[in-house]
Structure formats: structure tokens, C-alpha cells
Symmetry: C2
Subunit: 333 residues, 2 copies
């Protein structure tokens, strides 16, 4: 059977993870969350995450600058640390490069990587440099530190929680449309592209939210809410409802969508690569927390739905009516 | 300027590392040793290493079985942990695969990876699975644990130390010759191939040696003694002498070399991928330690040379006479 038949999650769940269940003991949290957890003492844990970016799968060389690729390679990993509520403390970079590439390309890549390293005080401590036949390959790993009691998993959501986002979604998917369809890079398109090519990791938001016991589950939005919320529902064995009218979208996305006849709701819910945080919050504490969040970050903690007891699945509502197809969901706007 | 002009070490030393010097503080050891060091309390540190293997650069798909590739991907990383004197505690696997590959290939790969994970009790805790255009890409990371005072660096060798190896060298380079020249896989060739395709990491040796204060510097032999010893000499600012008649080689390598007119000394000294440990030992303690080593591991701790004050460079001697060219060195055998 070809691996394309079972896909990434199939490979992980059916081929890779089962082999190792017995080797993972109760002190270690393994495959299945944003980062692995290794307790280092009674109160503190290290968390570790890694992501691989391959040319033509994750990016096109002539559509992303080396600076942007350097930034994004680190950012998507910092986002996983943010998703657990952790503070990043070190990064590691493996890079495979075709032999005919220019040293200047690598210099620019490192500048982008370093700008984010400096912003969050994360030194690059090691890695590997090697040659690759034709495609650029980047693998970054990040170690984070966290108070063990503050760790936010996917599996600890509770019935009656509200589902929230730390930022707007869909801009990155809009940016990808600009790239894939070779659309003109006007100022609005540039805004969307920026979010696709250099998404800022929500480290500060994650660290702040992790202090609250009333934040029950957290992850980052890398594959899109439609896919990512399902991970929380499956891990926590709960049913989720998303109220489509509450999905936060930028004006730029709405305007570009009108212009190009995109469905912004599809881009926001199924697009992915947003790297905002998706979390579930005790419904009785939401108002207080959202108030403090706005005070701290000058933006809303967007509430987009709620959880209930039930089979793990997402129900989409538009003005209280169930919507089976996101296309339909948007035509009702 | 093309990156092929400055090479891997040039890229690391001139482009990647300098950017990050100011971000690495005194508590963290960064780029330039086998693994990064992150202290976790007064007495203990985590160490972390990562290596990327790319098809056509590091292996040929039809010359290594998926089981062997899974084994080797983990082994080369465990070897870096061994080189610091550490105990591996967790691994992470990023794998990029062309879409038309078979699930069975991945199953076999995981079997090889797991066999070594089980041998050293190292659970796989996370990673990334993604598609790749045409080449298989594997990036493994390993976290290890170590008593901080037992850490062995490249920079702490001392004048008058003896240079030692924990095993024979050259078999892996011999195996590579078999592969590259499509030579018949007779039983002797198979022995060499085995060392090239599934090199065992010297974890137990590294852990045992790390207890001794009289072991001053240690690293693993991945690029060949000629290249790797230079790293120790440069980091410790010492001159090294290698006595070619003491380089330990297997009978299989000698026999295949006679058969194919290879120079076994070139393969042993410059070949690489041996994954034995290269260490420097207080010369007054060598005899005692080698005795205990033999008792513990049923093999010699091979002494191949010595260090002195002086400019970082390697002098090769053959029966006390200087040899400028390894080819010449072997013709004198």
C-alpha cells in the first residue's frame, strides 16, 4: 500500500507510534501532542518539538525569500512550544542545501532565523549542515521549559468549555492563494503573504494563558481549525460546536475574498498555517479571562464555539442553524 | 560565492555560528561539540544532538534496506551522545517521504529504529512526518542526560595525553567501497557492509569512560580520524601525533584491501563513519584504565598516538619516521 493512501496521520497513528507505546513510561509524554515532555525535577519539565520543511512540499524557492524561510522555520517550532504554554530556551537547525547555492542565501536565511531568536532570546545551540541533491531541506528543533503544572495538553479539555482563538485566522491561507495563483502583490495581498511567510509565534500569549488552571487544553493552528480542533476532541473525547459567525477574520482577507471570489470561511476554517493558539476555557471564567487578555495583549480572546459530552466531531452552526458544508456557511453571510 | 566553495565546516564556522555567539550565555554550550549542553540543575545536564540523512548524499535507496536505514539514523545520533559521555533518554524523528513509497517500507524502517531504541531504552517521543518530492529525508534528534562533571568536550584535551580509540576503524569505509563499486557481497564484504550500514553506537563505552577524570576529551569518529582528531587539536590548541602502525584494523578490512588493492590505512584514517570513540587520556593512567576497559568490554582501548604543546596539526609517524602521505604510510607496511 502506498503511503499516500494512509496519509501523515495514518502513518503516525498506525505505523510509527504503536511500535513505541511500551517504551514510553509514565513520566514521559510522547507522540500525539504539540511537543514531547521530559520532567527534569519535581516542578519543572523540558518540552521538545521538531518540524521539517521541504522545498516544493512546504515552500517554493522563488516565492519565499531566504530571510522569510529562516524566520518561518523557527517560528513554526516556537508556535508548538507556545501551544504547550512553554518558554523556548534553545534551538537546533539541520539544513540540507544543493551544492550550487550561494553563501549569500544562507546568510540571509540566518538573518531571518536570528531575528526571531533574538526576539524570544532563544540561542541556536547546534544542528547539522549537509548537501542535498536538488531541494532545500530545513529541520528545526526547539527545547522549551515549563512549570509541569502549567503544561497544556490536547487531552484535557472539559465538557462545557468554550473554544477560543488568540488571533484571526485565514490570512495565511489567503497568502497561499496569492502564491499558488500568481496573483498581483498589491498592498492587501502583501498583508496576507506576510502572515503566510512570516507568521509570528504566539509565545507571549501561550505563556500568559498557561498560568490559568481554567485554560484546560491548548494547541496551535497549523492545519486549520477544522483539522486541529478534531485533535482536541479526539484526545479529550468530546463533541465540539463551532459558530461560524464568530470566526475572526481580517478585513484584508474579506476584501481579497470579495475581489477574487474566494470563500473566506473555507480559508479560515480549513486553510491552516495560522499559528494562532486554539484553546478551551472554563465557560464561567471566560469573561474575566478575556478582559484580562484584552488588557494585556490589546486584542480579544476570540470565542468561536463550545464543547459538550458526545462523540468526537465538530458541528458547524451559522446563526444557530447547522451548516453541513462550509461553502454553504459562507453563502449565508 | 557557491556554498560548495566553503564547505560544511566553512558554513558553520563563518556563516551560522558567529551570528549566535552573543545569544549563547555561559550556562549553555553551543555549536562546536558533538552535542549541545543545557544544565538542568546544579549537578545534571541535558545534552542534545541532531543529524540529517538525505538520500543520494548519505545513502542510496537500493543499497541500504529500510531496516538498516532506520537503525543507522538513530545510531549516528546515539553515537554523538556517547561521545559526550551521556545516557540517551529520548529521540525524535522527522521523516520526509516521496508519496509513492510503500507503507511496508516505513514499517521496516521503524523496526530497525526500534531495535536500537529497545537496546538502549530510548523511547521515540515525537517528530514530524511529511512528503518529499523525490528523495527520502531523515532527521533524528536525541536528548541525553549526564552528570555535568562527567561531560567530555573536544576542548579539554591536555598536553601529554595519549590518543585512544574504543574500536577498530576502516570497516565502514571498506563497506562504502563495496557499495560504490558494486563489488560482490561475499561473507567478508558483508562484514564490512554491516559496519557501514548498521554501525553500533558506543554508548556503554562512552558512559563508562565518562566517569574517569583522567579521560580529558572525547568525540566520535564520523568523518575519519584525520578530520576528527583535528577538531580536538583545534579546540584544545595542541599538536597531535598518530602512530600509523597502531591504527586498529579488522582482518576483514586487511583481506579485502589485499584483494582489491585498496589502501586500508587511508580507509581507516580518512574514511569515516566508524562511530567508535576517539578520546585523550592522561598518559600516567592509561595502563590502569586500559586494563579495566579490557576487563569490562573484552577488547583493548587502542592507543594510537599522543598530544604535545604546539600548533594544532597532526603528524603521522610510521615506526618513528614521519610520513607525509598516507599512501606512502601503507606501502611501508
Amino acid at each position: 500500500m502506498k503511503i499516500s493512501k494512509i496519509g501523515e496521520f495514518g502513518l503516525i497513528e498506525e505505523v510509527i507510534a504503536p511500535e513505541f507505546k511500551e517504551l514510553v513510561n509514565k513520566h514521559l509524554t510522547g507522540i500525539g501532542d504539540d511537543a514531547a515532555i521530559i520532567p527534569i525535577d519535581e516542578h519543572t519539565s523540558h518540552i521538545y518539538t521538531t518540524d521539517m520543511l521541504i522545498e516544493k512540499t512546504h515552500f517554493l524557492r522563488d516565492k519565499i525569500s531566504p530571510y522569510q524561510l529562516g524566520y518561518k522555520s523557527l517560528s513554526v517550532n516556537l508556535s508548538d512550544i507556545a501551544a504547550m504554554g512553554g518558554k523556548p530556551i534553545a534551538s537546533y537547525l539541520s539544513i540540507g542545501l544543493p551544492k550550487d547555492m550561494e553563501v549569500e542565501w544562507v546568510e540571509e536565511f540566518m538573518k531571518g532565523y536570528k531575528s526571531l531568536s533574538e526576539e524570544f532570546h532563544v540561542p541556536l545551540l547546534g544542528g547539522d549542515t549537509t548537501s542535498s541533491e536538488n531541494n532545500i531541506i530545513v529541520n528545526v528543533g526547539v527545547t522549551g521549559k515549563i512549570s509541569t503544572k502549567h503544561i497544556k495538553l490536547r487531552s484535557t479539555a472539559k465538557a462545557d468549555d468554550l473554544v477560543c482563538l488568540t488571533g484571526k485566522v485565514g490570512d495565511s491561507a489567503g497568502g497561499l492563494q496569492i502564491i499558488l495563483n500568481d496573483l498581483p502583490e498589491d498592498p492587501i495581498a502583501k498583508k496576507l503573504l506576510e502572515h503566510h511567510l512570516t507568521p509570528p509565534p504566539h509565545i507571549s500569549e501561550g505563556l500568559w494563558l498557561s498560568q490559568f488552571e481554567t485554560v484546560h487544553a491548548m494547541m496551535d493552528v497549523s492545519d486549520g481549525i477544522a483539522s486541529d480542533l478534531k485533535h482536541i476532541l479526539k484526545a479529550s473525547q468530546l463533541k465540539g460546536t463551532v459558530e461560524l459567525e464568530h470566526i475572526p477574520m481580517s478585513n484584508e482577507l474579506i476584501r481579497q475574498s470579495e475581489h477574487y471570489k474566494w470563500n473566506p470561511l473555507e480559508l479560515s476554517v480549513s486553510g491552516g498555517e495560522d499559528y494562532v493558539l486554539l484553546l478551551t476555557v472554563d465557560k464561567n471564567e471566560y469573561e474575566t479571562m478575556a478582559g484580562k487578555f484584552r488588557e494585556k495583549f490589546s486584542k480579544p480572546l476570540y470565542q468561536i464555539g463550545y464543547l459538550e459530552k458526545g462523540e468526537p466531531q465538530i458541528i458547524y452552526l451559522k446563526n444557530k442553524k447547522e451548516v453541513k458544508d462550509l461553502k454553504e456557511g459562507y453563502s449565508h453571510f
